[in-house]
């Protein structure tokens, strides 16, 4: 495209999540979002049209709202819940938010927060300075539930306890910092291990959704502080993969029945200095011919889905201020524009 063109546009239907990520090819100077379904309708809408232009802060927007019955428009300025341009290779940073409790001792991994900021389901967060739960300080988690300005839930970690049998921690995290971030999308990536079961086909649970595919060979780095160090440096075939709303796991072609039980080190041991237990993408393996829960039976073949790939992208994040969750199934039109020439005031 050239800089003086309308770059691109499109439409989509709101899913009621109160957000949308629209993939675009470059950073626009002007981005306009219009609610086509409710345009001219007598239905009240908090945002019938909204826009973001260069120079405006992240998460902000200018918007027009539509009054009920009269259809009269009113203008508003959003300082949060608006538009944020995201380059996943050079993402924006977010301020740390305070937590007063991390429930690793009960296994729910509910993180109590008086302010949850812009954290939404599916977002990645990093917990730091988790007092009395230093074993997960610096770890990355994906959020599975949010109660606005009350708590977030680290459901993938919780499933390692409920489904994987991970021992709960000795004490709750008394305080912590929660930092939202956008991960780089080089694929596949290494993952933090939440739990490894002792079984004839071991199941590995992760703290966030994983990138692995059936047939792929993964490699383990498990320090002795985590117990099951027999698996350290082993390269193992993945038989099946689960990436549901609350469970992220892989089943391995490895019998760990006789191994030492996997468990996180105590908070004190972690604070004294350990390396995390992680899984790495190791190499491409032949897809199993006997099938699995997520991979239908087929002749053995080369696994192409595990190929290293740069999946970084540009997208415009549209927040709840411009796509209210109440506007479920509304159709939106968007247009992304670069200025040919721009003269600021």
């Amino acid at each position: 495209m050239l800089p003086y063109q309308i770059i691109e546009g499109g439409s989509f239907t709101g899913d009621g999540s109160g957000m949308a990520n629209i993939q675009i090819s470059t950073k626009p100077d002007l981005f306009i979002l219009t609610n086509r379904s409710d345009w001219g309708d007598d239905t009240a809408q908090a945002a019938i049209e909204s826009k973001w232009k260069k120079g405006m802060a992240d998460d902000s927007a200018l918007l027009l709202a539509q009054a009920i019955t009269t259809g009269a428009l009113s203008s508003d300025v959003l300082t949060s819940g608006g538009f944020t341009f995201i380059d996943t290779a050079n993402p924006p940073s977010y301020a740390a938010l305070a937590s007063t409790n991390v429930a690793g001792n009960t296994g729910t991994f509910v993180v109590t927060m008086a302010e949850t900021g812009s954290i939404a389901v599916g977002d990645y967060v990093r917990l730091t300075s988790v007092v009395d739960e230093y074993q997960i300080s610096g770890y990355v988690f994906q959020v599975t539930a949010v109660t606005n300005d009350v708590s977030i839930t680290l459901g993938y970690m919780a499933s390692a306890v409920s489904a994987g049998g991970l021992a709960t921690f000795a004490a709750a995290g008394d305080s912590a910092d929660v930092i939202k971030f956008i991960p780089n999308k080089m694929y596949p990536r290494w993952s933090y291990i939440a739990m490894i079961t002792k079984a004839s086909q071991a199941v590995v649970y992760f703290t966030a959704k994983n990138d692995y595919t059936p047939g792929e060979i993964v490699s383990f780095r498990v320090p002795s502080e985590f117990g099951m160090d027999e698996i350290n440096n082993k390269a193992v075939r993945v038989l099946s993969v689960t990436n549901s709303a609350t469970v992220s796991s892989i089943t391995l072609d490895l019998d760990t029945s006789g191994y030492t039980t996997f468990a996180f080190p105590t908070s004190a041991i972690a604070a004294a200095g350990v390396s995390p237990a992680v899984v790495l993408p190791s190499s491409s393996g032949v897809v199993p011919d006997n099938g699995s829960a997520t991979n239908a039976q087929q002749p053995p073949g080369t696994n192409l889905r595990d190929a290293f790939d740069n999946r970084n992208q540009y997208y415009m994040h549209c927040g709840p201020g411009v796509i209210p969750s109440t506007a479920l199934e509304s159709t939106y039109d968007w247009v992304s524009i670069k200025f040919d020439k721009y003269t600021s005031a």
Binding site: A89, S93, Y134, G138, R221, V278
Partner: protein
């Protein structure tokens, strides 16, 4: 497409950096004294990494630089290569036994980016080096220092895909009045770790 020649080269570097960051083994520095996790890099951490790579049959990349009768110089052992951010320079300078490049007995086979070495690792710094922000136990930035053995990772350029600088004079691309010219670079490359045992991400704070 990147817009400047310098950006294109930096993009090539950052793509390889991101590839290493995505799939290298993770080892925290624990030998430092700053109370964080990872700690700042210490001699014991670099020795641990050398031990890991030796245990994994990783070959050295550079040969020994033997001692010579030159005042203020010190020999350098066979070495693995460590690629890291320039923000680590103060940490490197404080490493016990660290030998700056200008203290090598012979600098004929060094790179301009080389900062120095200690025991069996030589360090190459770049402002493009990998940093994970706010990621330590205490929420400080972590430097991802990639220590590689020989042939630990590779970069592949597909035939015909080498970098090209593309200049178009006015009159191209819907420019009937010949008002605008454009310039850009394009290339395609692939990079990956060839043996996950041979590339270690030694994570350090103190930057």
């Amino acid at each position: 497409m990147v817009t400047k020649v310098t950006e294109w080269r930096e993009t090539q570097d950052s793509l390889v950096r991101d590839s290493l960051e995505s799939s290298a083994s993770v080892v925290n520095c624990v030998g430092g004294s700053n109370g964080d996790l990872p700690t700042e890099m210490a001699l014991s951490d670099t020795d641990d990494i050398v031990t890991i790579l030796q245990n994994n049959s990783g070959e050295y990349i550079t040969n020994m630089i033997p001692g010579e009768l030159k005042i203020g110089t010190s020999p350098i052992g066979d070495a693995y290569g460590c690629m890291l951010t320039t923000r680590m320079i103060p940490v490197l300078n404080n490493l016990q036994g660290f030998v700056r490049k200008f203290q090598y007995p012979n600098v004929s086979e060094t790179l301009s980016t080389e900062w120095g070495g200690v025991n069996n690792i030589r360090f190459f710094v770049s402002e493009q080096g990998s940093v994970t922000p706010n990621a330590s136990l205490a929420g400080n930035d972590i430097a991802n220092c990639f220590v590689s053995a020989k042939e630990g990772y590779k970069v592949v350029w597909q035939a015909g895909g080498k970098a090209r600088f593309i200049y178009l004079p006015p009159g191209y691309n819907n420019d009937p009045c010949m008002l605008r010219h454009t310039a850009g670079c394009s290339f395609y490359q692939g990079s990956c770790i060839t043996n996950d045992l041979w590339v270690q991400n030694l994570r350090s704070t103190g930057i």
